[in-house]
């Protein structure tokens, strides 16, 4: 029996890697020219996500955060490492074996218009997962759809159930996507930039909704975002990624009040504060995130790091727990304690 209490581990990634082959030309292949190259999108990431928590994965474009999300739900197969869901090792599960577990994990993506079939009414879209996972429940479809619409704040439900995506606003569409994710009563929801496209005033409503649903349905979120300010309003713990690796993990409060990795510090300092009296004064790291095809040796942040020393170019720092529950991959992080 698995432990279903809040706080027990629901998903575990153990040293997971995902390397994508870089497509080479036909001639290169034919002549076996050159070493095959790989994009090391995720290069050894370990995370435990506890039941009932919101784990925020933050980082810039190309950091690998979306790939980690997809690996956690086994939408992608890891090149190396293990993915454990509720004590089941699903690293090498086939599509068929995964299908049984799919009703327990759902996804919300950034663009609701791309997630919804334009020819499916709201009620059909929401009932679609039921049809796949619980066909016996389809006779109660109307009631189930009505209830879940009410749950996500699309009220009164009868106004919305027969509409099509193009008849809804962006915020309403994302609520439909959330409703569809809820209908199979999942335990884990991967939310990949779920509110990035919404306007400011809609964002706060969606965040509020996701917070409420989490408590009411006892959900666990893997919340992926590039927006550290937004993450503050929903996440319990934060993992910061840089170039395919986790550089820091800790509670929201620990990471935001005392970031230990120089990259986390830079990232946080770069976020503008909505107050013109507090404009940024800290300097920024030079340059941009390098290519994940040939990442820098040692610590991947060393070419841009203000405190880098010779060892940083040679030795890849391990994740070390410098405070209870606060881990960081930096040779010299102690000075920030």
């Amino acid at each position: 029996m698995s432990n279903k209490d809040n706080g027990s581990v629901l998903v575990s990634l153990i040293n997971v890697k995902k390397w994508f082959p870089v497509r080479q030309g036909f001639l290169d292949n034919l002549l076996a020219r050159g070493e095959p190259e790989f994009v090391r999108a995720v290069d050894g990431v370990s995370i435990d996500i506890a039941r009932g928590e919101v784990f925020g994965l933050v980082g810039e474009s190309g950091s690998g955060k979306t790939t980690v999300g997809r690996l956690a739900l086994r939408l992608l197969k890891p090149t190396e490492g293990q993915v454990i869901f509720d004590d089941i090792d699903i690293s090498t599960h086939s599509t068929e074996e995964l299908r049984v577990l799919r009703s327990r994990m759902q996804v919300i993506f950034q663009d609701p218009m791309a997630s919804l079939n334009p020819r499916m009414s709201v009620s059909d879209a929401i009932a679609h997962p039921l049809q796949i996972h619980y066909p016996e429940k389809m006779k109660e479809k109307d009631q189930i759809v009505y209830d879940v619409l009410e749950d996500v704040g699309l009220v009164p439900p009868h106004i919305f159930q027969n509409k099509y995506p193009h008849q809804l606003s962006g915020g309403q569409r994302q609520r439909v996507v959330i409703a569809r994710a809820l209908v199979t009563e999942p335990e884990l929801i991967l939310a990949d930039e779920p509110i990035a496209m919404a306007d400011v005033s809609v964002r706060s409503l969606l965040l509020d909704l996701m917070n409420r649903l989490k408590d009411e349905h006892n959900l666990t979120y893997l919340f992926i975002t590039h927006d550290l300010a937004t993450a503050k309003y929903i996440c319990d713990r934060i993992g910061v990624m840089y170039l395919g690796k986790l550089v820091e993990v800790g509670t929201l409060r620990a990471v935001y009040s005392k970031p230990l990795h120089p990259y986390t510090q830079a990232l946080m300092a770069a976020v503008p504060i909505p107050d013109p009296n507090r404009r940024r004064s800290q300097p920024l790291p030079r340059g941009e995130i390098p290519s994940p095809i040939n990442p820098p040796s040692g610590c991947r942040f060393h070419p841009r790091c203000p405190i880098a020393q010779a060892v940083c170019a040679e030795e890849d720092p391990e994740m070390r727990e410098l405070e209870p529950g606060h881990t960081v991959a930096c040779h010299f992080a102690e000075q920030f304690l």
Binding site: E60, V202, S204
Partner: protein
């Protein structure tokens, strides 16, 4: 530096789009001045008309849209009276524009050198290609891009570099005014901050005036001198960043400012939840367009459009709460139902 000289005065500007369902007035009777040397932030949510307004400043509205009336007094000359070929000379050489996605503004089969030299030669800045190329190299060097990359093509550059190339195109022609429409939106937070730093420096160095159109209110707090808040085709409020962020007058600006996520722990911990959604401009609400969502609306708000008027010096607002109108007094005493 910001001065009190007016570079560009927009008076009674109206822009309409013809649609099958009728005319949509995307910019409705907008008047404001752009001061020489300032960074003016133009903020608002999707569909508020900020991008249309930005394009109208260059007379770049394309059918089915058109400017139906108004004056565009740039440096004393009404751009509305210019012929199409004269206005083309103004675009680029006096007023430059940067969009969200530089890839759509750059020609994929032209190198950076081609882009810059062609622009300079077309506008008669230099007589010889050699000379123009030298200046182009100096310019991109100033932007923080190594001059040897001048023969690269747009796809070889990162998003941040492409945006720098767009800026150098405007600077190559000595533009006085740069309109940046969501220019930092596709950039990661550190790259965005680097870009804002660069804009700040360039403004002083090249005596630029910048209109920054964005939905990102944090960015405006970081860099703007003044800010205009748009709602449903109209300017709701205009003032210095300190006024608008510190003492927002319009209920919409107040709500907007309180909806912005703040990364600082224990600050702004609950976001304002604005009721409703922005209106459909095919059938805009009568009177003040914000009245159906406004928590402070009074009777007159739905009946008569408030005028855009100064509150304290330099702080303008379009709201009945601040207007001393005869009808307003009657409403307050209850004579108008």
């Amino acid at each position: 530096m910001m001065t009190n000289d007016i570079l560009y005065s927009i008076q009674g500007l109206n822009v309409e789009y013809e649609t099958r369902l009728g005319a949509v007035r995307a910019v409705d009777n907008v008047s404001f001045d752009i001061q020489k040397g300032e960074v003016l932030g133009l903020v608002g949510e999707s569909g508020c008309g900020k991008s249309t307004l930005g394009k109208a400043l260059l007379r770049m509205i394309e059918p089915p849209g058109h400017i139906t009336s108004g004056k565009l007094l740039f440096d004393g000359l009404d751009l509305m009276t210019l012929s199409d070929s004269r206005i083309r000379e103004y675009r680029g050489s006096r007023i430059g524009m940067i969009f969200q996605d530089p890839m759509t503004s750059l020609n994929p089969v032209q190198s950076i050198a081609d882009h810059l030299t062609e622009a300079m030669l077309t506008h008669g800045m230099y007589s010889g290609e050699e000379e123009a190329r030298k200046y182009a190299e100096a310019l991109i060097d100033r932007m923080g891009i190594r001059p040897e990359r001048i023969d690269d093509y747009p796809h070889q550059l990162s998003g941040g570099m492409r945006q720098r190339i767009m800026i150098s195109l405007a600077l190559a022609l000595n533009a006085d005014l740069i309109i940046a429409d969501e220019a930092t939106t596709s950039l990661d937070v550190i790259v965005e901050a680097q870009f804002l730093d660069l804009l700040r420096q360039l403004r002083d160095e090249f005596d630029l005036t910048i209109v920054l159109i964005t939905h990102n209110i944090g960015v405006v707090a970081e860099i703007a001198d003044r800010v205009a808040v748009m709602y449903a085709g109209r300017i709701a409020e205009l003032g210095t960043v300190y006024d608008v962020f510190g003492e927002a007058m319009h209920p919409y600006s107040q709500g907007l400012m309180q909806s912005v996520p703040n990364i600082v722990l224990d600050e702004g911990d609950s976001l304002y939840k604005m009721a409703g959604e922005p209106p459909n401009l095919l059938q805009p609400p009568s009177g003040c367009r914000y009245h159906p969502r406004c928590p402070q609306a009074i009777d007159i708000c739905s009946q008569v459009t408030p005028t855009f008027r100064p509150g304290k010096t330099g702080h303008y607002v379009s709201c009945w709460l601040y207007e001393e109108h005869p009808a307003m007094k009657e409403t307050q005493t209850g004579t108008i139902a």
